[in-house]
Symmetry: C2
Subunit: 369 residues, 2 copies
């Protein structure tokens, strides 16, 4: 059988599907694209068993086929071609010939039976979310997910439908981010946990277009333009995060975000050894941040302009975590809402965007002495 397609059109299609191809896998079949031609439409899919990507375009073809082809090789060949109409000729002996006006490239295909079935998610219940809104929600929260498999729920991001809006929560037990998109309200109350790998892939697909989302208990499907992205959900109960968020942190430290961020970045140079901590020494309208690297005999301190009228205190934080939080927050002025050197602090922008709410929580660390 034969079909024709423009090289750049096919390259664009494959470039969107290849992120689901695992780079290392004990199952070599997953290193392939599943390529199906059926009644004049070409569907390319890939999966790593956790996430899947699929896209379809119309082509003129005289027969139907369903085969698997080395994903990396096909993608590399197609993108090495000039912009031109390419002729595909599929024989019955396991060969696909790609014919251009420059030459002939022949590669093997295999039967599709062994390729795992890609989960389909019922399209009955549809949710529509703006692509940029979804991207922002993941961008702001994903960094705080846990990298440790001990508590699987925390290795993903919680997406929670609630009356006040669509909530996104990530935590690794040391820090927690809660982001609420108030544009999106619903009467149902439902929780889904999206795995880290799914978020890292979907973030690159999201943009101006609205996204159609379909959810089941175990899988979620996102339709973004002509792409369907399917991910397994983490089937665990998310920790009761609200109970750890302090309600009465009355000591309010007001600082310029970029100023303290730049100081914290310098403190990171002095907190490379085990402690990895920065000390905030806070007094009446005064803030000194300091760090010490005992192994290398180096230390640093800076005074930062601030407004503060609460209890004087010395409080320590993990320097990397403070840097993460200050880097991901937006806005010029931020507040640290503190209780005491052993209780969680809350970090928030002073001005929040209309229709959204964001809160970051950070546990202090015991100060070395």
């Amino acid at each position: 059988m034969e079909f024709k397609i423009n090289s750049k059109v096919l390259e664009k299609l494959l470039s969107k599907i290849i992120p689901a191809v695992p780079s290392r896998t004990p199952m070599p079949i997953l290193e392939n694209f599943l390529v199906e031609i059926k009644d004049g439409s070409l569907t390319v899919s890939a999966t790593d068993l956790e996430i899947s990507l699929r896209s379809t375009i119309n082509i003129a073809a005289d027969k139907n086929i369903k085969v698997v082809i080395s994903a990396r090789l096909l993608y590399d060949i197609i993108r090495s071609l000039d912009d031109s109409l390419v002729n595909f000729s599929v024989d019955e002996k396991g060969k696909i010939n790609i014919i251009t006006d420059k030459g002939v490239y022949s590669l093997s295909y295999s039967p599709s039976e062994d390729f795992p079935e890609i989960q389909s998610v019922s399209k009955e219940k549809e949710v529509i979310i703006n692509g940029n809104d979804l991207k922002k929600a993941f961008d702001q929260t994903a960094f705080a997910m846990s990298k440790e498999d001990m508590r699987p729920a925390m290795t993903g991001t919680l997406v929670e439908f609630a009356k006040e809006g669509l909530r996104f929560v990530s935590t690794d037990g040391h820090r927690l981010v809660k982001y609420i998109n108030k544009n999106f309200t619903t009467d149902v109350q439902e929780q889904y946990i999206i795995p880290e790998r799914a978020i890292s892939v979907i973030i690159k697909l999201l943009g101006d277009t609205d996204v159609k989302v379909y959810l089941s208990k175990t899988y979620a499907s996102f339709i973004i333009n002509d792409i369907e992205f399917i991910t397994r959900l983490i089937g665990e109960k998310y920790p009761a995060y609200n109970s750890v968020i302090p309600l009465e942190n009355e000591n309010i430290l007001l600082v310029n975000r970029l100023e303290i961020l730049s100081a914290v970045k310098r403190m990171m140079l002095f907190s490379t050894s085990n402690s990895k901590q920065v000390k905030f020494s806070i007094g009446q309208n005064s803030l000194e941040v300091s760090a010490e690297d005992i192994d290398h005999g180096s230390n640093a301190k800076e005074n930062i302009q601030c407004q503060y009228s609460g209890d004087a205190m010395d409080i320590g934080f993990n320097t990397t975590y403070v840097n993460d939080i200050l880097s991901h927050l937006e806005g010029e002025e931020i507040t640290f809402k503190l209780h005491s050197p052993t209780k969680a602090g809350i970090i928030e922008p002073v001005k929040k965007e209309e229709n959204e709410d964001i809160m970051m929580l950070l546990m202090p660390v015991r100060i070395n002495n």
Copy 2:
């Protein structure tokens, strides 16, 4: 003692010296800058025992010191600072305090006795070479140096003073590049071999300014603006490369460089397995390049426009080596001068720049069958 210096001036100085600091070394002292203040000038040096970098600027200082300071930490601190005048205060107890209007950063220094002496090269015999000319010569030849330590001379680039000009030669036994800068002529005939690491560092320092070069039997010194770059030379005899360059390759294949380069890049996708070879099948004004990956059951062939009127032949080359050569040559049209499928081929641009000559040699490989 105290001295003051602008942070960005110091950052620029350190950024030029830090390439000589080894990233991994069994001698921790080499991870430091040697910092010397003497009679109002500040000299910063670094060495990995093979290459050294040194630069001096004038400063106002009341005393002389000579200490070693962690290179990475000092560089990272200085470049994290805003553009401002920075005060250095060196106490007698091993501490340097860096004081800005934001804060105080304190780091340890060590005495300089254990820091290896940086080789000095006699400045008696001076050679002046244009920086861009030197950069181009290294750019065109360095890729062909051997990566294997078996024959140390071939792990460097030969620089040869000769009547016809300044010759640069690299070879790994499979390919050879000879580049001649005819602007630079001399009556003496001398050979020096510059190690790979020196070339990779000096290439980034070279630019519009003339370079003063001083050579001894064992070391070379290059003065580039306010920087001195010193490298050990490879003290071996360079192989008699002229004897391997064929003089009578009468079969001349004329092709467009970018056209054959783009075909060879596609062939690389099909020559990933052990053979890594591309076959040139050459006939009367016809050239087919082809490659086959037996392991993956894939293959490719392309026809390329050419002019050829010699003996018809099939000749195989290592695909990566052909790609290297075609990528480093300049000019639109190139010739392959061939003798037979078992003898070295010569690849040259049809039009050469005035005042330079370049020749690349490539050994064929036995064609699989």
